[in-house]
């Protein structure tokens, strides 16, 4: 039985800048795996290679046993992987409703889409009151919620979350991570990219640490939280 996601020895570069070298990670179905690291470590690049926005120069990626290498980026979401990109990448001039409809772009089961919309509102009730509002006018926290809801509208089996806590107040971070825990409890597998190591380690079962495009450390999240070196460099204590 293959793992849900198997990333094996991948490398990627932007022109002459080598962003990833020989990165491997795997995650079993039903888990939350954290990918940690500082600015420019290669976290976003890793997610974008999975979403096929950034080409691999080496290695391979398998999802549910199937290689992703041959898919084009717009096929990835149909294959069951949704990404919540970093930075508030909503469709600014569209209403919240249209943003959510865009999330279901590749689907042709209107009944299923309707029920998933209702389900999204159970996680993010605030969005129901904002349906007609332009997404660009939402607060930062609401935009982050909309992004997650938009990704859920594709009914993914794997969610790639890029720095969901970025720029949010501690209260909002708590709120978002409560929802992440609920999504996980409801069976969703999540690859969680974070700079905020404390929250991410608390939320995940397993974690990888990237530095300069390489995995420098990995282990069970509980163990990493006790690790002295980790505490010093990433947990600020």
């Amino acid at each position: 039985m293959p793992d849900l996601l198997e990333v094996e020895g991948i490398s990627a570069s932007y022109g002459r800048i080598q962003a990833l070298s020989n990165v491997s990670l795997r995650m079993p179905a039903g888990s939350i795996v954290a990918l940690l690291g500082g600015n420019g470590a290669g976290k976003t690049t890793t997610l974008n290679t999975i979403s096929r926005l950034v080409p691999l120069t080496a290695g391979s990626i398998r999802f549910e046993g199937q290689p992703l290498n041959r898919l084009q980026s717009h096929h990835v979401v149909r294959a069951g992987i949704s990404q919540v990109p970093e930075g508030r990448e909503v469709f600014r001039d569209m209403s919240v409703r249209e943003n959510l409809d865009m999330g279901a772009y590749g689907r042709s089961d209107p009944a299923g889409v309707r029920s998933d919309l209702e389900r999204a509102f159970t996680y993010f009730p605030v969005l129901r009151d904002r349906l007609k509002q332009k997404a660009g006018t939402l607060s930062g926290g609401e935009q982050q919620m909309l992004l997650i809801a938009r990704a859920l509208m594709a009914r993914p089996r794997l969610l790639l979350l890029d720095e969901p806590s970025l720029g949010l107040s501690p209260v909002l971070v708590q709120k978002i991570f409560d929802i992440i825990a609920r999504l996980h409890a409801d069976g969703l597998s999540i690859l969680l990219v974070e700079q905020n190591a404390a929250v991410a380690l608390a939320a995940s079962q397993y974690a990888y640490i990237l530095e300069n495009g390489e995995i420098v450390l990995e282990g069970a999240s509980d163990a990493l939280r006790q690790d002295e070196a980790i505490k010093r460099t990433y947990l600020g204590s």
Partner: protein, 300 residues
């Protein structure tokens, strides 16, 4: 000039301005949808119009096909030609180098190729007149005299624009087009095939240019250089803010009306200056254009 005459000129200018303006509005729309979604100004827009005009002329006059067949075939050919150019040529150019400059040069290349083709066929050697498919009997609206053809031009342009705005604003395809214009990366992440949407947008732009050609051709002499009429479409787009579709439409009507008013009140030789006058005025008073918002640079 006495008041009576001024009022008459004003009515005539607005009426004729709305008619030509509606065609400029279509052209501006064709330009802006491409620019908005791919950030490439298409410098072959005028030659796409010219080539479509000659395709229609060929089918209608030289092959003597019925009007409905000529019109629909012209539109289909224009859609397919523009879509193919985007799909094949621009994709190759983009693969070879990521620089947008090369894409712009490719559109310039297309404009020369289309002109060359039309000259090659020999149809473009002498100015030709395109048969009017609607009677040119005039009728009075207020004190303005317009022809039935004029009304047909205006009516058709308005119907085409309404259909376009409905598609763009209220269908799934239109929503996908808007998403690509707003945030191509997010569009890809939700499963939009950028290539497919760009291809359809180019096709639509070609089809709209063809419709503009069919509408404007009876009113001018056709030559291989008639594509220069698209300058007025660019002017309209600039007046409207260049990235705004409603702006393009309003800009088209403004340019058309200003042009006709200048022709009547100043001199018909001053007409060619009118659009630049309108552009200068707008750029000075409102640099972002009438409907322009902030300028945002997007990356694909």
């Amino acid at each position: 000039m006495d008041l009576q005459l001024a009022l008459l000129f004003l009515q005539q200018g607005v009426a004729s301005g709305l008619v030509v303006g509606s065609v400029y509005a279509l052209l501006a729309l064709a330009i802006v949808i491409i620019f908005k979604t791919s950030e490439v100004p298409n410098f072959a827009q005028g030659e796409m119009l010219m080539a479509a005009g000659y395709v229609a002329l060929y089918l209608l006059v030289f092959r003597a096909l019925p009007a409905w067949a000529s019109i629909s075939m012209t539109i289909v050919v224009a859609f397919a030609g523009a879509a193919l150019f985007r799909r094949v040529v621009l994709t190759q150019v983009a693969h070879a180098s990521g620089s947008p400059v090369n894409l712009v040069i490719a559109t310039l290349g297309l404009s020369y190729v289309l002109k060359g083709l039309v000259r090659q066929t020999g149809f473009g050697d002498t100015p030709r007149s395109f048969p009017a498919l609607v009677s040119t009997d005039s009728l009075m609206i207020g004190q303005a005299s317009v022809t039935r053809l004029d009304l047909a031009i205006l009516g058709t342009a308005i119907i085409v624009m309404a259909a376009f705005f409905w598609m763009f604003g209220y269908t799934k395809l239109g929503r996908a087009m808007r998403s690509v214009g707003m945030n191509p990366k997010a569009a890809q992440l939700v499963g939009v095939n950028l290539n497919r949407i760009h291809t359809i947008i180019w096709g639509l732009s070609g089809a709209i240019s063809a419709i503009a050609a069919l509408l404007i051709s009876p009113k001018l002499l056709m030559t291989a250089d008639m594509g220069s009429v698209v300058t007025l479409g660019f002017a309209a787009a600039i007046v409207g803010g260049f990235a705004s579709l409603p702006g393009a439409v309003v800009g088209g009507f403004i340019i058309g009306i200003v042009e006709q008013l200048v022709g009547l009140f100043v001199s018909s030789r001053a007409i060619t200056l009118a659009p630049f006058l309108a552009i200068m005025l707008v750029l000075i008073l409102r640099p972002q254009g009438l409907f322009g918002g902030r300028v945002v640079i997007k990356k694909v």
